[in-house]
C-alpha cells in the first residue's frame, strides 16, 4: 500500500522537476543559427571540395593510386624533349602533358588520402561545401587546362614522335643486321615546338587560401 503512495508522490515530483528543467530552458538563448543568412566559418583543416592547381601537376598518378574509391581519371602524354612544358612552383621541370585530369566528386569520399602523397602539393581540400548539382554528371570536375584541340595536337605530335622512334629503332636494328654495330644513329627529326596556348580554365579555380 505504501508503495502505491510513494509511486504517486515520486511520479508527481519527477514530473515537476522535469518541468522545471524545460521551463528554465525557455529563457536560455538558442544555440541554433539561421543557416543561409548566418554561415559558420569552417576551421582551417576542413575537408570538403577538392581543388587541383594544374600548373604544379606533373602527372605522377600518386593521387590516383592513393584514392580508395578511384574517382580520378588522369591521362598524360609524354612531352617531346624539344618541347618546353614549363616549371612547377617547386622548381621541378615538367615532362608530361596532362590533357585530361577528371575527379568525380560525386564518388569522392572526402578522406583526404590523395592530398598527402602529392609531391608538388598541388591537390588540396578547400572548405567549399555548397556545390550540389541537379545533374550527377556535372559533378565530374575536369581540371585540365588544355583545350581539346591542343590535347589532340599534343597527342598527334607524341604519336608521330613515337612512330619516328620506333622507325629509327627498327632501322637501327636492321642496320645492325646489315652493317656491323657502331654506325651512328640517325639524328631525331626536329619536332615543331609550338608552345601550348593556355586554354580557358574550365574547372572552378579558387585563389589558394592564404
Amino acid at each position: 500500500m505504501l508503495k502505491y503512495f510513494t509511486d504517486i508522490f515520486r511520479s508527481v515530483w519527477s514530473v515537476l522537476i522535469g518541468m522545471k528543467v524545460t521551463f528554465r530552458h525557455l529563457f536560455t538563448p538558442a544555440v541554433t543559427i539561421q543557416y543561409p543568412d548566418v554561415k559558420l566559418k569552417l576551421p582551417e583543416r576542413a575537408r570538403n571540395r577538392l581543388y587541383v592547381n594544374m600548373d604544379d601537376c606533373i602527372g605522377c598518378f600518386q593521387c590516383d593510386m592513393a584514392c580508395p574509391v578511384d574517382c580520378f581519371k588522369i591521362e598524360t602524354v609524354k612531352g617531346l624533349p624539344t618541347e618546353d612544358l614549363g616549371m612547377t612552383s617547386t622548381g621541378q621541370k615538367k615532362r608530361l602533358w596532362v590533357p585530361v585530369f577528371d575527379i568525380d566528386i560525386a564518388k569522392c569520399c572526402y578522406c583526404g588520402l590523395c592530398v598527402y602523397p602529392c609531391p608538388t602539393e598541388c591537390i588540396k581540400m578547400t572548405d567549399v561545401y555548397e556545390f550540389s548539382e541537379t545533374n550527377r554528371h556535372h559533378l565530374i570536375y575536369n581540371y585540365a587546362t588544355m583545350t581539346p584541340a591542343e590535347a589532340a595536337e599534343v597527342r598527334r605530335r607524341a604519336a608521330e614522335h613515337e612512330k619516328e622512334q620506333a622507325a629509327k629503332k627498327a632501322a637501327a636494328a636492321t642496320a645492325v643486321k646489315k652493317t656491323p654495330p657502331g654506325s651512328p644513329p640517325v639524328p631525331p627529326a626536329p619536332g615543331s615546338s609550338a608552345p601550348p596556348a593556355p586554354g580557358a580554365p574550365t574547372p572552378p579555380t579558387e585563389p589558394p587560401r592564404a
Binding site: 514530473v15 524545460t22 536560455t28 538558442a30 539561421q34
Partner: protein, 339 residues
C-alpha cells in the same frame, strides 16, 4: 447576443446559424495562433529558435503558410481504404470537439446556448471524438492505424470516468449543471473560486480533471494513439491535405475546449480575480481566454517534458489512481457539505 441578432433579422434560421458559427470566429484564429505558439514554445524549450523566416518577426505567418500548403496538397486516399468512412472520419472528430463550444460561456454576455445541463452536454458530446478516431483507424486499412485507433478508443473512454467524477465535485458544490450559473456563483474575486472552497478535495479534483483531460485530447504523456516512435502517426497516418489539417484543427480545438471547461468550473470562467475591478462582459472574455490559454500552455509544456506511457500503464493510472482519488474527493466534499 441572441436579442441583438434577432433585432437585425427576425428569422430563426439566420440567428441560429450565426450563433452556431460564432465560436468558429474564435477557434480558427486561436488554432492558427496555438500551432505557432506550440512550435515556438517547443523550440525555445529545446534551445532552438523555431519558425523565424515566414512573415517577419519570429515567423508569425508560419501557420498560415502551412494551412495554404495543406489546402493545395493532394488528398491521397489509400486504394484499399473504405472510402466513405475515410472521408467522414475527420469531420466527425472535428464535430465532436466543436460541438462542445456550444455550451461554453465565453463571457457574461456571450454563451452559445445557455442550456441548463451545459456540463452534461459537453461531456456527452466530446465522446463523439472516439467514434471519429475509430472510423479513421479502421478505414485506413493499415495495421498501425488500427492499433492507434484501438488504443485511443480505450484511452478516451476510460479517462472520461475520472474526469466526469472530478467535475462532479464542483457540480455538487454549485448545485447546477448550467455553466453560466456556475460562473455567477464564483463572483467576488479570487478567494471565491471553487478551487479554493473545501480546500483539499476540490483542488485534487482539479488536478485529476486536468490529467484526465490530457488523456482525452491525446496529449503527452498520453499521446499513445499517435505515438510517433511506435505507430508512425497512429490513426491519421493515411491522411493528407485538408483532412489532415482538420484532424490537427480538431486536436487544438479540443485542447482549448478542455482547458476552457477546467477554467470555468474551477477558476471562475470569466470572473476577474480582482473582485469588482475589470469585470465587464468584454473583460470577462479577456479573463476567460487568458485562463484557457494558460492551460493550453501547460499542456504544451508537458508535451515537451514527459515521455509517453505504455497502454497498460495508461489503464493503471486511469483505473487504479485517478478514479479512486476522484471518488475520495467526492466523498470528502459530500461529507464536508453535510457536516
Amino acid at each position: 447576443m441572441e436579442q441583438l441578432l434577432r433585432s437585425l433579422i427576425d428569422s430563426d434560421i439566420f440567428v441560429y446559424t450565426v450563433m452556431a458559427a460564432l465560436p468558429l470566429l474564435w477557434i480558427l484564429p486561436y488554432a492558427l495562433f496555438a500551432v505557432w505558439l506550440e512550435r515556438k514554445v517547443s523550440a525555445h524549450m529545446q534551445d532552438r529558435l523555431g519558425p523565424m523566416r515566414v512573415g517577419g518577426w519570429h515567423g508569425w505567418a508560419q501557420t498560415i503558410a502551412d494551412i495554404l500548403k495543406l489546402i493545395q496538397k493532394e488528398d491521397i486516399v489509400p486504394a484499399a481504404a473504405d472510402k466513405r468512412l475515410h472521408f467522414l472520419a475527420p469531420f466527425i472528430v472535428f464535430v465532436g470537439s466543436y460541438a462542445a463550444y456550444a455550451a461554453i460561456p465565453f463571457s457574461s454576455a456571450f454563451i452559445g446556448s445557455g442550456i441548463n445541463i451545459g456540463l452534461f452536454y459537453i461531456i456527452a458530446v466530446s465522446a463523439l471524438v472516439t467514434v471519429g478516431i475509430l472510423m479513421a483507424g479502421w478505414s485506413s486499412n493499415n495495421k498501425w492505424s488500427l492499433f492507434g485507433a484501438m488504443r485511443s478508443a480505450a484511452q478516451i473512454v476510460s479517462y472520461e470516468i475520472p474526469s466526469t467524477l472530478a467535475l462532479l465535485t464542483v457540480v455538487m458544490l454549485a448545485g447546477t449543471l448550467n455553466l453560466q450559473e456556475i460562473n455567477r456563483l464564483q463572483a467576488g474575486g479570487l478567494t471565491n473560486w471553487f478551487i479554493f472552497r473545501k480546500f483539499p478535495f476540490v483542488a485534487i479534483a482539479f488536478v485529476i480533471s486536468f490529467v484526465a483531460s490530457l488523456a482525452e485530447t491525446n496529449r503527452t504523456p498520453f499521446d499513445i494513439p499517435e505515438a510517433e516512435s511506435e505507430l508512425v502517426a497512429g490513426y491519421h497516418t493515411e491522411y493528407s491535405g485538408m483532412k489532415f489539417a482538420l484532424f490537427f484543427l480538431a486536436e487544438y480545438a479540443n485542447m482549448f475546449a478542455v482547458s476552457a471547461i477546467s477554467a470555468t468550473l474551477f477558476l471562475g470562467g470569466w470572473r476577474s480575480p480582482l473582485k469588482k475591478l475589470m469585470s465587464g462582459p468584454v473583460w470577462g472574455a479577456f479573463w476567460f481566454i487568458s485562463k484557457g490559454m494558460f492551460f493550453v500552455f501547460v499542456q504544451m509544456w508537458l508535451r515537451w517534458t514527459l515521455p509517453r506511457l505504455r497502454v497498460d500503464q495508461l489503464m493503471y493510472v486511469s483505473w487504479k489512481v485517478l478514479t479512486p482519488w476522484a471518488f475520495a474527493c467526492i466523498f470528502g466534499v459530500g461529507l464536508w457539505m453535510v457536516l
